[in-house]
């Protein structure tokens, strides 16, 4: 049995529940993997820690992974399970209407400088030919965004639509969500990256790991309620059951079908678009070869 250290992007959230479920059901054991999970504080620092051999594999935002790779962090993305980015503008229904780029210009937006939020916003501006001054952005710490929105200090926040939508609905209000993917932002969502050294010496372990992940997600798709119940207990999630289910279902709607053979694969074109866009907005200085960023070769099928 191989010990695998999995680094997470953040403290336990509902989207980590399927992994917990898989561990519970022995899917990783079946693959000969003894999985050890550790929460993190943002994809960027988890990426560096992965490169520094604190972990073998990490669950992180693919955009953050790409930026890290371009800076020379020795990691590579091995699977991306979201079909498109969940990055969105989110507001409270009744207070705001988010139906067009024009509409968004009129609101005060809370966004976290640095990290995936900043990436999304920059690319959104670039894609829609907006200048620095066209959006009224207030910078807020990741932990302050929800509070800012709820208290009305900002009208809109940027972030993952499924996550913040679930929170708003959890307070008994309706959410207004504008997806950046719909506005032509070619970012990707969450996936798995691996330490290069680990990847080179243990490619089969990565495949086995992804196979177990895939199986776990199949169960999650079949029974989000059960996954949440089990995850809330095991991971001590602070989400209410309903909010957790809402969250998971929102994520599933923009994720690959875990029973599909092409689960986790993004095309070369999608990657090329991501890398060139990141380079355009200055997040990546010297892009280098695409195959330094990702490989689809280790995906199970």
């Amino acid at each position: 049995e191989t010990k695998v250290r999995l680094g997470l992007d953040w403290g336990y959230l509902p989207y980590h529940a399927p992994i917990a479920l898989g561990i519970e059901k022995g899917y990783f054991k079946d693959e000969g993997i003894d999985l050890f999970m550790e929460p993190g504080r943002g994809s960027a620092s988890t990426a560096i820690m992965l490169g520094e051999d604190n972990y073998d594999i990490a669950h992180i935002n693919t955009s953050n992974a790409a930026v890290a790779i371009s800076k020379g962090v020795p990691i590579k993305t091995v699977a991306v399970y979201q079909t498109r980015t969940a990055a969105s503008f989110i507001g409270i229904k009744g207070k705001v209407t988010l139906d067009s780029v024009e509409a968004i210009k009129g609101y005060r937006i809370g966004s976290t400088p640095g990290g995936s939020d900043q990436l999304s916003l920059r690319i959104f501006r670039a894609v829609n030919d907006l200048g620095e001054m066209d959006l009224d952005v207030v910078s807020l710490d990741a932990n302050a965004k929800q509070a800012g929105l709820m208290s009305g200090n900002v009208e809109v926040i940027s972030g993952d639509g499924f996550a913040y939508g679930a929170i708003i609905r959890g307070t008994g209000q309706e959410a207004e969500v504008f997806s950046l993917a719909d506005a032509g932002v070619p970012l990707m969502g969450f996936g798995y990256s691996a330490n290069t050294e680990f990847l080179e010496s243990n490619p089969e372990v990565i495949t086995a790991f992804l196979r177990a992940v895939k199986r776990s997600w199949q169960d999650a798709f079949a029974d989000p309620e059960g996954t949440c119940e089990q995850g809330r207990a095991k991971l001590e999630l602070t989400h209410k059951q309903a909010a957790c289910v809402d969250y998971l279902k929102g994520l599933m709607a923009i994720s690959d079908d875990p029973s599909s053979p092409s689960w986790g694969a993004r095309s070369d074109e999608e990657w090329a678009a991501l890398i060139s866009t990141l380079a355009e907005v200055g997040e990546i200085q010297s892009p280098g070869a695409p195959d330094t960023y990702y490989t689809n070769a280790l995906l199970p099928n």
Partner: protein, 278 residues
């Protein structure tokens, strides 16, 4: 010998019951007022929340917080345990380090000028902000909590210790030196006791900051403890849980403060600050 002892007659005796009674009443009054003040504050808070119908996700009422405190008692206590552990361990290290460095700085002008700037820098760096870097350097877990507590609290102790050690009466130092006291003895018998009131000031501030440091440490780099609970709770807008955690942390801090005050009173009965009516 017989001559002078005549001037001393047996006119001293043990403490009278009046003294003891007065002391007991004073303790009661000292404890009652702060508690009363806290209770009044909580009632005002409850009333305001109810009167203005403030939603729980903005500001939960104290009763709601207490409810969560009960409902998730085990969870909160476990995490409080982690936080207390980091706080106490870190605080102990900070006292050792702080007093040690304070002594070194006060004893040697060279150490003062070479080391002090670095301490000031370490104090002047916004630690929370560079946390992602610290996370990458130190890694995740208990040790980061402890390190955070140490960094958070030791400087106050250093500065107060240095001040206290340097405040010793020069004549007193001269006197004991001419009694043949080694620098170590001068430190131990004169400078340190003389610095105790200042050191205690530093320790009291540090003691109250220790749980804060632990929580912030957990907030930036741990998957357990009240800091982790807080980041999770705030992230899912479970504000009542967040308040329960804050309540526990600050309650812990307040208890530590009053404990330190109590110890201070015991150890420094000779100092002006503990005597006299001001």
């Amino acid at each position: 010998m017989s001559a002078a002892s005549n001037t001393v007659t047996a006119t001293t005796s043990g403490p009278s019951s009046k003294v003891i009674q007065r002391r007991r009443r004073r303790i009661l009054r000292n404890a009652a007022l702060p508690v009363l003040s806290a209770i009044v504050g909580l009632i005002v808070w409850e009333v305001v929340v109810r009167a203005f119908d403030i939603p729980a996700y903005l500001l939960p009422a104290p009763t709601e917080v207490v409810e969560v405190l009960f409902n998730r008692f085990g969870y909160l206590m476990t995490n409080l345990g982690y936080t207390m552990f980091s706080a106490l361990l870190g605080f102990a290290l900070a006292v050792l380090l702080g007093v040690g460095l304070g002594i070194a700085i006060a004893s040697s002008p060279i150490v003062d000028r070479v080391v002090y700037p670095w301490l000031v820098i370490s104090h002047a760096v916004p630690k929370v902000v560079v946390a992602p870097l610290l996370l990458v350097w130190i890694g995740f877990g208990v040790k980061s909590g402890v390190i955070f507590v140490v960094f958070f609290t030791f400087f106050t102790i250093v500065v107060n210790t240095v001040m206290g050690l340097k405040s010793a009466d020069p004549d007193l130092l001269h006197m004991v030196r001419s009694m043949g006291a080694s620098p170590m003895k001068v430190l131990w018998k004169i400078k340190l006791p003389n610095a105790l009131p200042n050191i205690f000031t530093g320790i009291k501030i540090a003691a109250t900051l220790a749980p804060v440091g632990a929580v912030i440490g957990e907030f930036v780099a741990s998957n357990r403890g009240l800091g982790y609970v807080l980041i999770q709770a705030v992230g899912s807008m479970s504000i009542d849980l967040a308040f329960a955690a804050v309540f526990l942390v600050s309650g812990f801090g307040v208890i530590v403060w009053y404990l330190a005050e109590l110890i201070e009173k015991r150890i420094l009965p000779w100092h002006a600050s503990q005597r006299g009516q001001h």
